[in-house]
């Protein structure tokens, strides 16, 4: 059976993706950075670096530090802003026939809504992924993603501003992630994706200073996979909407664990840095597994965990 005979497609709200392998925001630039490594049109979708209303210069360096089987980043959401994104980045992605999901971030509910409105109806944009791990500036800097009410408010506002499918990207830095997922589902989210990075820190014992200028940063990579997988499993059992699994996925085996746990699709993050071809390798590996297990559709696998 050739890969093309397999049904790898998955649905995220009204959107059908050709396969479940997506790129994680912030680890794949605006797509073009990977043009010599990956066939962008083969991917389920390219989720681009988080976009804000105004351009952001991000945090001062150092911004990244390696940890055991992982890395911390405090990029600080550096991005070109929505205007330049639409003017400079979308043409290329359209030309490559990539399915584009735009990851957005804001300081207030209103900013999220405004951004969603600006993206609505733009040719080539298939969906919006909402990063709610950002501080709510109006609410004393508590992250939207740690409070079910604020998360629901963002979801409602974004849904009200766009006809595009809306994916809410959940923060893992919470007591009960299933509760968060249910809150955004009730508020109209078409899907949830998780996890964003775990908040972490590293110290240089020589200088006795934080290794990141921002002091704390987001932990990603294989180190966090067990936590991510547990959360995906918990959320998949709690909501009816599709779940996109993220966190430490570096191989097809990793991706398969998330699908079996209940994820309809997955996003590959940090692994892109180490193996720029990771997304295609993972896609091929999922196909091979389905064949070896005599499955014809990836949906047979989704949530197939026998507990």
């Amino acid at each position: 059976m050739a890969l093309s005979d397999l049904d790898l497609s998955c649905r995220i709200g009204a959107l059908t993706l050709q396969n479940p392998v997506l790129t994680a925001s912030g680890t794949f630039g605006y797509g073009r950075e990977f043009e010599s490594f990956v066939n962008l049109h083969r991917l389920g979708a390219v989720v681009v670096k988080g976009i804000s209303l105004a351009p952001r210069r991000g945090n001062p360096p150092p911004r990244v530090v390696e940890t055991a089987c992982g890395m911390l980043n405090a990029i600080g959401l550096e991005n070109v802003g929505v205007e330049r994104f639409l003017a400079e980045k979308m043409d290329y992605l359209r030309g490559m026939r990539a399915t584009v999901i735009v990851n957005i971030l804001g300081d207030s509910v209103e900013e999220y809504a405004e951004l969603a409105g600006l993206l609505d109806g733009v040719a080539g944009i298939a969906a919006i992924e909402v990063n709610i791990s950002c501080p709510n500036v109006k609410k004393g800097g508590v992250a939207f993603g740690t409070d079910p009410k604020m998360a629901a408010a963002v979801t409602k506002a974004v849904k009200g501003a766009t006809k595009l499918p809306v994916i809410i990207k959940l923060s893992p830095n919470v007591t009960d992630i299933a509760l968060m997922a249910k809150a955004v589902e009730a508020a109209g989210a078409d899907a949830v994706s998780l996890i964003n990075t775990l908040l972490g820190m590293a110290i240089d014992i020589r200088s006795r200073r934080p290794r990141l200028a921002n002091v704390v940063g987001g932990l990603s990579g294989p180190a966090i996979k067990p936590v991510a997988l547990r959360m995906v499993w918990q959320v998949a059992r709690a909501v009816q909407i599709p779940v996109i699994g993220i966190g430490g996925i570096a191989t097809a085996e990793d991706a398969l664990e998330f699908l079996i746990a209940g994820a309809s699709a997955i996003e590959v993050g940090t692994a892109n840095f180490i193996n720029p071809r990771a997304c295609e390798d993972i896609l091929n590996g999922i196909g091979a597994y389905l064949e070896a297990n005599k499955m014809t559709s990836v949906r047979e696998l989704v949530g197939s965990l026998a507990v």
Binding site: R63, C69, M71, F273, N275, R277
Partner: protein, 263 residues
């Protein structure tokens, strides 16, 4: 030239000094594309710890498709690279970043400290092709003779006359490589400077260049997660401090000294 991802066969591993390794591997397409100043992101094998690739400058290429890197073993990543034996494969992404602008004519001076010498050798060869050897002056410094001699010899073999300095005085001038700069000053000529090495050394070089009005190209290092302009981790402050950051893997590693902040 778009970067590629490839598995290259190790042809040779040389231990030039304790913990100073030169790896030669076969990568014809890479060799054909590489320019002096560019770097590679390397991985010894599919280990998850350390997680990230390691950036190393391109030290030398040959027309037969050989590529060399020269590095110091400082931690686990370089230790794994140093353990590769001929016949094993090296996982390579590159060539990455911009490159030195190759001048033809004028008085050219290459100032390298420690492992900063690695990319300067490739540069020296390309400059030496375009310029009379006496117009290409390498100033090379390292901690000690053991480290510096093998590197210096390569420059001599190119027909150049490197001025040397070691921290412990075991080879060349006993002191800093930048002490040699006074010779350039004395010459009264305008110089075009290329430099790569420890930050304090480069800052001193840049200061002098600014005073003298000399043009100066610097090759910078920073922590890098990807090397391919995807993570935005390699930010450094630009000369205009409140402007957008520069990204070493994309806007660099080579910068005009005036482009970046010297803090």
């Amino acid at each position: 030239m778009a970067p590629m991802q490839l598995k290259a066969e190790i042809l040779r591993r040389e231990t030039l000094a304790p913990d100073l390794i030169r790896l030669t591997f076969l990568a014809p397409d890479l060799a054909a594309a590489a320019r002096p100043g560019q770097f590679l992101m390397l991985r010894a094998g599919a280990v998850r710890d350390p997680l990230l690739r390691r950036p190393l400058s391109i030290h030398q290429i040959t027309t037969s498709g050989w590529v060399q890197v020269l590095f110091k073993v400082v931690g686990q990543g370089t230790r794994l690279l140093a353990a590769l034996a001929p016949g094993q494969t090296l996982d390579v992404v590159g060539p990455l970043g911009n490159h030195f602008a190759l001048k033809s004519g004028g008085n050219l001076c290459l100032i390298g400290g420690g492992m900063g010498i690695a990319p300067l050798y490739f540069l020296a060869r390309e400059l030496q092709r375009r310029n009379p050897p006496e117009r290409v002056v390498p100033l090379l410094g390292a901690r000690t003779a053991k480290e510096l001699r093998p590197l210096a010899d390569d420059f001599v073999a190119l027909g150049l006359e490197p001025r040397l300095a070691t921290d412990d005085g075991t080879l060349g001038h006993h002191g800093l490589v930048i002490d040699h700069l006074s010779e350039l000053l004395v010459s009264g000529k305008p110089w075009h400077i290329y430099t790569c090495g420890p930050y304090p050394m480069m800052r001193a070089v840049v200061k002098l260049c600014r005073e003298q009005g000399w043009h100066c190209q610097v090759s910078l290092e920073t922590m890098m997660a990807c090397g391919i302009s995807a993570c935005l981790g390699c930010a450094i402050p630009a000369a205009q401090l409140d402007g957008p950051y520069k990204h070493v893997c994309k806007d660099g590693p080579v910068f005009g000294a005036e482009e970046v902040a010297w803090l």
